[in-house]
Symmetry: C2
Subunit: 315 residues, 2 copies
C-alpha cells in the first residue's frame, strides 16, 4: 500500500465508535469533545535519513523542525497548542546533543505558548522521534478538511517551494541562500493565522501543505467530495526559488512539500474581508468545483493534473 491507500484503509476499517470522537483518522488532528472545549491531538514522526539528515540539520534544528510540523497540523484546524509529549529513539544519550535538541523543541513550542511535559526514550541505531501535540478550540470551533463547497475560493497563506528548493540545492552539493535554509530547517507554522480563520469562521476547509500543494489539495477535495481548479500564474512561488536556474520553478511549489503554509477555502462572499481580518497578504490560487479532480488553468487552457507529491511508501 502507498501512504494514501493506507490512510483510506484506516478511515474505512478503523472508524472510532465513541461519541466523544468528533474526528478520528483522516484530518490533521484528532478532535475530541470535552465538556467545555474541543481537545485536538496530533502526532508527527521524524526519521533520520528519511525526513532529515545530520548533513544539513543541527540537533537544535531537528527539535525546531519536529515541533513545527506538529504545530502546523494544529494550525490547520485552527487550534491553540498547549502541551507535547516526546518519543525519542536515539543511539546514545549524549548530554549536549540531547540538551540542544530538547531546547529546539522547547523554544519552538514556547513561541506558540506550548510546553513539553513528558515522553519516553529508548535506544535505536537511528534517530526516530515522534511528538504528540495537544491543543484546543472552543466547542465547534475547529476547521476540517471536509467543509469545502463548489464556488469557494482556494487560498494559500504564503509563497511555496522554499523548503523543497533548499533540499534540492543540498542534494546537488550547493549551499542554499539563508532564507531557503530557514524554510527547510526551521519553518514557521501558521498558528496565528489558523486561529483567526477558525475564530472568524472564514475558512470552510483547511489543511497544511506538508506533502506538496497538489497532494494536500487533493486530500482536502476528497474529504469534501469536490474538485479544484488552480490558476498557474496565481500560485505564489518564493522569490528565492524563482531566482534559481530551474527548468520549472512551479514544480517545487506544486509538489515540493514541507512548506507548512496553510491551504484553505473561503466562501466567495467572505473573501473580500479576508485580508482585512487576517491583517496580511494571502494568495487566492483557484476555486472549488463540484466534480472531483484537479485542473490547472494555464494560458487559457484547462488541463487535468495528477495530485503528485511526497508519499513515504510510494516506490
Amino acid at each position: 500500500m502507498t501512504e494514501e491507500e493506507f490512510l483510506k484503509f484506516l478511515r474505512q476499517k478503523f472508524r472510532p465508535h465513541s461519541r466523544e470522537v468528533i474526528c478520528g483518522v483522516g484530518d490533521d488532528c484528532a478532535v475530541l469533545d470535552f465538556p467545555d472545549h474541543w481537545l485536538l491531538l496530533t502526532l508527527d514522526t521524524f526519521v533520520e535519513g528519511r525526513h532529515f539528515s545530520w548533513d544539513y540539520f543541527t540537533p537544535y534544528e531537528v527539535g525546531r523542525r519536529l515541533a513545527a510540523a506538529n504545530l502546523s497540523d494544529l494550525a490547520a484546524m485552527g487550534g491553540k497548542p498547549t502541551f507535547a509529549l516526546l518519543s525519542l529513539s536515539t543511539p546514545r544519550l549524549e548530554e549536549e546533543r540531547i540538551t540542544v535538541f530538547l531546547e529546539g523543541i522547547k523554544s519552538k513550542l514556547a513561541l506558540y505558548g506550548a510546553e513539553l511535559i513528558g515522553g519516553d526514550t529508548c535506544r535505536h541505531e537511528k534517530w526516530v522521534i515522534s511528538l504528540t501535540l495537544l491543543g484546543h478550540t472552543p466547542k465547534g470551533g475547529a476547521v476540517f478538511r471536509h467543509g469545502a463547497n463548489p464556488g469557494d475560493l482556494i487560498f494559500v497563506s504564503r509563497p511555496l517551494g522554499a523548503s523543497a528548493a533548499a533540499l534540492y540545492l543540498w542534494q546537488k552539493g550547493l549551499e542554499p541562500p539563508a532564507s531557503l535554509k530557514k524554510a527547510h530547517l526551521d519553518p514557521d507554522p501558521e498558528v496565528t493565522l489558523g486561529a483567526i480563520l477558525a475564530e472568524n469562521q472564514l475558512a470552510s476547509a483547511m489543511i497544511d501543505v506538508s506533502d506538496g500543494l497538489l497532494l494536500d489539495l487533493e486530500r482536502l477535495c476528497e474529504a469534501s467530495g469536490v474538485g479544484a481548479e488552480l490558476e498557474l500564474e496565481r500560485i505564489p512561488v518564493a522569490e528565492e526559488v524563482k531566482a534559481l536556474p530551474l527548468e520549472d520553478p512551479y514544480s517545487l511549489a506544486l509538489k515540493g512539500g514541507e512548506d507548512f503554509a496553510l491551504l484553505f477555502t473561503v466562501p466567495a462572499e467572505k473573501a473580500k474581508i479576508l485580508e482585512q481580518l487576517c491583517r496580511r497578504k494571502l494568495y487566492q490560487i483557484g476555486r472549488i468545483i463540484p466534480s472531483p479532480g484537479l485542473f490547472l488553468l494555464e494560458d487559457r487552457t484547462r488541463k487535468p493534473i495528477a495530485p503528485e507529491g511526497f508519499d513515504h511508501f510510494k516506490v
Copy 2:
C-alpha cells in the same frame, strides 16, 4: 548518560511552568488539570530488535504488547484509559500484516474501554512504534510515585518473573510454556486494580513493574524520599518460573522487567481492608523505611541491594 541519568536530567532542566501541569516528566503519566477532571497522558515506544523480535512475536502480539505497556502506565496512576494515537515507522505497508497489528492494538485497548483514533506513519528499515494513550481520573484522583511514607507496606499485584523467563528460554533456543509466553507477548495491564486502589485511596504511591521490581521500587522510593526493605521469601515468583532449572529464580522476579504488575505502598492501617476491597490476592513484600536505599531481608540478615534492572542506555 544512562536512562536513569537522562530522566533525572529531564526533571531538573525541563520543569513545566503552566499551572495546568499537575505532573510532567517523572511519573508513569503526565497529568493535566482540566476543569472537571484530570487528563492523563502516557507514551510508550517499542522498537524491533530491542523490545521485540519477529522470531517470537506475531504482528498481532506486537500490537497487543504495545497497547499493554501504555495501559499499564495508566493503571499505575489509577486512570481510566480513553483514546490512543499511533506512530508507526515500518519498512512496508503490507495490508495483512498492518491489519492484524492494528487489530492487536484495537482489541487490547477495547478490553479496557479505549480506542485508537489517529496517528502518523512513515517508512523506516525497522519497526519503531510509539503509542500515546490518554486517560482520566477525577480531580485529585491520581496516585503518584511520590506519596510513600515510612511504615507503609509494599505490595505487588501478582507473581513476577514470567515475562523475563520466556525471553530467557527463547534466547536459549527453548520453547517456553504457554503461560510464560502469554506473559511476555500479551501481558495483562492492571487497569481495574489501579482504579480501585486510586478510588478508595488505598495506595499512597504506585508504579508499574516495567523495568524490574528493584529498579521500579527504587524509582518510587526516590520520588518519595524514602527507602525500602524487602523480604525475599515474600516476593512472589511465578510458579512456572520456579519450575525452571535456574540457579536463582528470584533474580528474574527482582530484575526481570516487563511484568506489568502494579507495585504500590499502602499505609499499615489500610492494609487490613486491602484484599477485601480489591477482591483478590495481593502480595505484601516489604515496607518503606525513612532513609534512602533498598535492603533485602533473607534468613534474618539484612543486606543492601543495588537497584538493578533494565536500562536501555546502560553499557
